[in-house]
């Protein structure tokens, strides 16, 4: 029906749109880092614990952005839509 090059181009646009998912984790990680900074300011003694918790939370929050990356990679390299 459609040319496979056309579908590949549309897949590339879709991949670009899927990577927009990175905005969410960026904002979330920034908020986590900001709160961790204010927590260190309030209680400098607990710096190690705060850093560990912050990194764990940020790594978990990163997952949603990575799902967007995975969708982009599937569209570009596995090419499920191209006949």
């Amino acid at each position: 029906m459609f040319d496979s090059n056309f579908i590949l181009g549309c897949s590339a646009i879709g991949a670009g749109l899927a990577v927009i998912a990175g905005i969410g984790p960026g904002v979330g990680q920034g908020i986590a880092a900001g709160h961790a900074a204010s927590a260190v300011g309030r209680n400098p003694g607990a710096k190690g614990d705060i850093t560990g918790t912050m990194l764990l939370g940020q790594a978990v929050a990163e997952t949603t952005g990575l799902y967007g990356l995975l969708v982009a990679m599937l569209l570009l390299f596995v090419k499920p839509l191209v006949p």
């Binding site: 090059n5 990194l55 764990l56 790594a59 978990v60 990163e62 997952t63 990575l66 799902y67 990356l69 995975l70 990679m73 390299f77």
Partner: protein, 237 residues
């Protein structure tokens, strides 16, 4: 189409087949993932043999390699004990093993190997392994009645959603590790493939971030989440 093909020939982050053979009517490919996995496992084995030999003639005042080993094992033990409390003893082996394996796999990107954890076929079995462990602990500590009660938590018709929530655990565990390592691999491949001679020494900084920092964080997160899930499964009340 021509430019796209040329670019994808330069980019070197896909899994490549080395040779294939027929087994029971199916073609099985031996890929770069298998080879890198073998290299990582062999290096861990050699390291463990050396470590075993060192600790057999250990002295009271540690020196050299014994110092490094004790530091690492102490840090690992401390991490597991602080998360799992009194249940820690039974899980030191499993958590320690997957920690060392994931850490070595992620760091192998530094040596020019394609990190084995950037293959979903490596991380998914680890997610399933952790999930099985969580499931068995749940059955052991909460018994079948408690398990069914947990499934029908707010109301009985909520059970399908709880089942989906349980089944999402291995998938999200393995996808998180896989996608993180894969994104690092892709970024470095893009830089080496597209910049050519401009990328000579300075990508070492990116290696330090993507391989060492991100790899260590993801190792920590995988083990931490496994421990948290197991600890919550063993919570009887």
């Amino acid at each position: 189409m021509g430019a796209g093909l040329m670019l994808s020939a330069d980019l070197d982050f896909m899994i490549k087949g080395i040779f294939s053979f027929e087994l029971g009517g199916q073609t099985i490919w031996i890929t770069t993932s298998h080879v890198c996995l073998l290299i990582v496992v062999l290096s861990i084995c050699i390291l463990s043999f050396i470590a075993n030999g060192t600790m057999k003639k250990a002295s009271d005042v540690p020196t050299g390699f014994q110092n490094v080993l004790e530091l690492g094992i102490d840090a690992l033990d401390g991490m597991i004990k602080s998360t799992m409390g009194k249940h820690a003893k039974g899980f030191l082996n499993y958590i320690g093993t997957i920690f060392v394996f994931i850490l070595f796999s992620n760091l192998s990107g530094l040596l020019g190997l394609r990190a084995p954890t950037a293959d979903y076929g490596v991380t998914f079995p680890m997610g399933v392994l952790s999930f099985t462990l969580i499931f068995i602990q749940k059955l052991r500590y909460q018994k079948v009645s408690g398990f069914i009660k947990g499934l029908c938590d707010p109301w009985p018709f909520w059970a399908p959603i709880n089942v989906i929530g349980d089944l999402a655990v291995p998938i999200s565990l393995s996808l998180r590790l896989f996608a993180n390592v894969l994104s690092g691999t892709i970024m470095l491949a893009l830089i080496y493939g597209l910049l050519g001679w401009i990328a000579t020494i300075w990508p070492a900084v990116l290696h330090a971030y993507f391989d060492v920092f991100s790899g260590a964080i993801q190792t920590y997160v995988f083990c931490m989440l496994t421990m948290t899930y197991i600890a919550s499964a063993m919570d009887t009340d």
